[in-house]
C-alpha cells in the first residue's frame, strides 16, 4: 500500500504535525464557509427551515467513503487498515448514549465541539462559551470515570473494530453505492421539507452545483463498485499471509482469548498431542465445515502450521476478518513457549527484563513449572504501559 505515509507518525513526526495543522486549517475553513460558525444556521437543521447540517455532514461522509472505496479498489489504500488506526473500536451502548448527549448538547449550546472553535475564532462570544464548556465537560467525565459503574458503562457493548461490511456481509463498494443513493434521496427530501416549513421562502438552492455534485457522487460510487470486477479485486488478500510472532500470539491468547480464534492445520494426531492453548484441530480436509466465509469476522484468525506457512488454504482466505499465520508454525511456538527462557544477565535493560518476565510467565502457565525469578533490577520502576498511540479522531 502506498498510503498512508507511515513515516508521518514515526520518523517524520514533526512534518506530520505540520500536515495536521494544514488539514485542520482546511477543516476549519470549510466549516466557516459552510456557515457552521453561526449557531443559528446550525440549529436551523432541527427546526426544519435550513437543513445545511444534514447536507454538509452527509455529503462529507459520502464523499470520503466513496473516495476510500475507489482508492481501496485500485489497491492504493487498505480501507480496513486505515479505519483500524483512524477510528475507535465500537462500544455500542456508550456510542448510542454519548451520541444522544452530544446531540442534545448540540441543540442546547448551538455548536458541536468542532464548529464552536470556528465560532470562537469569528468573535462569537457564545462560541467561546461552548469551547470552554466542552473542555469542562470532558474533564468532568474524566473525574467521573473513577466511579466504577460509570467506567464500566463506558466500556460496555464492546464489538471490536467492526464495520458495516462485516455486519451486512456485502462488499464495502456496494454499501457505498447504496449510501450515496440514500444520501441523494435524503437531500431531495430535505429540500422538500425546507420548502414546506420555511415561511419566508426557502433559501434558493442553485441547480447547477447540485446536479454536478449528485452526478459526481453517483459516478464515483459506480467506479468504486466497478473495481469489484478487477482481477486484483479489493479485499483480495496479499499472497503471503500476515505473520504473528509466537510472543504476540501468546499475549493475545492469554490476555484476550475472545478476540482470536486459533486454527491448527497440522495433521490431527500432531495437533491432538500438543497445540497452542485454545487452538482448534482443523486439518485441511475439515476446514470447509467451518464455513469461514459466512461466520462473523469479529475475531482474528491465527493459522498454525508445522512450520512457516507459505500460503493459506482457500477456505481460510475466504474469511472476511483479519487472518494471521503463526511465524515458523508450531515448531516456532514450541521453541518459544515450551522451552524455559534463559534469565537475562544482571543489569539487563528494562525491556529485556520485561520480555523475560513475560516469557517466564507464559512458560510456567503452559508447562506448570516455575521459572527462577530474574536478577534484581538495576533501577526500580516498571516499564510504563503503552497505550494505543494515535487512536480515534476524538478518542484522545
Amino acid at each position: 500500500m502506498i498510503f498512508p505515509f507511515e513515516s508521518l507518525s514515526g520518523s517524520q513526526r514533526e512534518l506530520g504535525l505540520v500536515v495536521a495543522v494544514l488539514i485542520g486549517f482546511g477543516f476549519g475553513f470549510v466549516l466557516e464557509r459552510a456557515g457552521f460558525g453561526r449557531a443559528n444556521k446550525l440549529v436551523a437543521q432541527f427546526y426544519g427551515n435550513d437543513m445545511a447540517v444534514l447536507k454538509v455532514m452527509f455529503g462529507a461522509v459520502v464523499t470520503a467513503m466513496i473516495g476510500m472505496v475507489v482508492l481501496d479498489g485500485f489497491g492504493l489504500v487498505d480501507m480496513r487498515a486505515v479505519a483500524n488506526t483512524a477510528t475507535s473500536a465500537t462500544f455500542i451502548w456508550p456510542a448510542i448514549a454519548g451520541g444522544f448527549l452530544v446531540g442534545a448538547g448540540f441543540v442546547i449550546s448551538g455548536y458541536c465541539p468542532g464548529t464552536s472553535v470556528v465560532a470562537a475564532m469569528s468573535g462569537k462570544l457564545d462560541g467561546i462559551a461552548v469551547v470552554v464548556g466542552v473542555v469542562i465537560g470532558t474533564l468532568v467525565w474524566g473525574e467521573l470515570s473513577s466511579v466504577k459503574a460509570l467506567a464500566d458503562f463506558a466500556d460496555s457493548g464492546y464489538l471490536g473494530q467492526i464495520y458495516l461490511y462485516d455486519v451486512l456481509g456485502i462488499p464495502a463498494a456496494v454499501i457505498a453505492l447504496f449510501v450515496a443513493a440514500v444520501a441523494i434521496g435524503a437531500f431531495l427530501g430535505a429540500e422538500k421539507l425546507e420548502r414546506i416549513i420555511a415561511k419566508d421562502g426557502a433559501p434558493p438552492s442553485p441547480a447547477t452545483p447540485k446536479r454536478l455534485v449528485f452526478a459526481g457522487l453517483g459516478a464515483f460510487a459506480l467506479v468504486g463498485a466497478a473495481t469489484l470486477a478487477l482481477p486484483s479485486a479489493p479485499g483480495a488478500k496479499p499472497s503471503a499471509p500476515a505473520a504473528i510472532s509466537a510472543g504476540d500470539l501468546a499475549r493475545r491468547v492469554l490476555d484476550e482469548p475472545w478476540k482470536v480464534r486459533v486454527l491448527d492445520v497440522r495433521p490431527m494426531e500432531a495437533c491432538a498431542q500438543a497445540r497452542v492453548p485454545g487452538a482448534e484441530c482443523t486439518p485441511p480436509g475439515t476446514l470447509k465445515d467451518l464455513f469461514l466465509a459466512d461466520v462473523s469476522a469479529a475475531r482474528d484468525l491465527v493459522v498454525v502450521g508445522e512450520g512457516a506457512l507459505a500460503e493459506l488454504p482457500p477456505e481460510i482466505r475466504a474469511y472476511r476478518g483479519r487472518v494471521f499465520a503463526l511465524e515458523e508454525g508450531f515448531a516456532g511456538w514450541k521453541a518459544w513457549a515450551l522451552t524455559p527462557p534463559a534469565p537475562p544477565p544482571a543489569g539487563a535493560s528494562a525491556e529485556a527484563r520485561a520480555e523475560y518476565g513475560l516469557r517466564a510467565g507464559i512458560h510456567s502457565a503452559l508447562t506448570g513449572t516455575k521459572a527462577p525469578p530474574p536478577p534484581p533490577a538495576p533501577a526500580a520502576g516498571a516499564a510504563p504501559v503503552k497505550r494505543k498511540a494515535g487512536g480515534g479522531g476524538c478518542s484522545g
Binding site: S9, V18, A20, I23, G24, G26, F27, G28, V30, R33, R38, N40, F46, G59, V61, V62, T63, A64, G67, M68, V77, A81, A86, T87, S88, F91, A95, I96, A97, G98, G99, F100, A104, G105, V107, I108, G110, T115, V118, M121, S122, K124, L125, D126, G133, V134, V135, I136, T138, V140, W141, L159, P206, P209, V213, G390, G392, G393, C394, G396
Partner: protein
C-alpha cells in the same frame, strides 16, 4: 473580494470539500478529524499546570499524560489548524465580529448560560462515546465504522428530541 456575511458556500459543494479534507486525513495520515479529544487534552494540560498531583492521581486524566505532554498529539495540532482556518475564513467572509448569536426571545446572558450548559453535556457525551460529531460521526462514518453510524443516529435523535424544549432560545 466581495465580503458578504450572509453568503455561504453551496451546502453540497461544502460537503464535498469537507469530504475531501477528511479523505486527505485518512490517506496522508491514516487518521480522522476530531475536536473533543483536543479539548480534553487542553483541559488536562490546564489542570496539570495548576494541580499536577491531582492529574497524576486521577485515573481518568493521567491517561493522556502517560506518553509525555498531553498537548503533544496529532489532534491538538489539527485543532490549532481548525482555529486558524476558522479565523481566516471568518476574516475573508466578513463574518469576523464580536457578537452573541441567539434567537430574538432570549437575552445574551441567558444564551451564554445555555451555551455553557449544553457544552458541558456535549463534553461528557463525547467522552462516553469516544468522539464527537467530527471524530465519530464524520471520521468513523466515512469508513463505515458501526459504532459511528450508531452515534450518528443517536446524535440526530438527541438533537431533534431536545429541539422543541429549547425553541425559545432560537426562534
Amino acid at each position: 473580494m466581495n465580503r458578504d456575511p450572509n453568503r455561504f458556500w453551496n451546502p453540497y459543494l461544502a460537503g464535498v470539500a469537507l469530504g475531501l479534507v477528511l479523505l486527505s486525513a485518512y490517506v496522508v495520515m491514516g487518521k480522522g478529524l476530531g475536536a473533543s479529544g483536543a479539548s480534553f487534552r487542553l483541559g488536562v494540560a490546564a489542570v496539570e499546570t495548576v494541580a499536577p498531583a491531582h492529574v497524576a492521581a486521577s485515573p481518568g486524566l493521567h491517561g493522556v499524560t502517560a506518553e509525555g505532554s498531553p498537548l503533544d498529539d496529532w489532534l491538538v495540532f489539527e485543532f490549532l489548524g481548525v482555529a486558524l482556518g476558522g479565523l481566516v475564513g471568518a476574516y475573508t467572509s466578513g463574518r469576523l465580529s464580536r457578537e452573541v448569536l441567539r434567537g430574538p426571545r432570549i437575552s445574551a446572558g441567558g444564551r451564554i448560560a445555555f451555551a455553557v450548559g449544553g457544552a458541558i453535556l456535549m463534553g461528557i457525551g463525547a467522552k462516553i462515546a469516544r468522539g464527537c460529531a467530527s471524530g465519530q460521526a464524520l471520521s468513523g462514518g466515512g469508513v463505515m465504522n458501526v459504532g459511528s453510524w450508531a452515534f450518528m443516529m443517536a446524535f440526530f435523535g438527541g438533537a431533534y428530541a431536545l429541539a422543541w424544549f429549547v425553541r425559545r432560545e432560537w426562534r
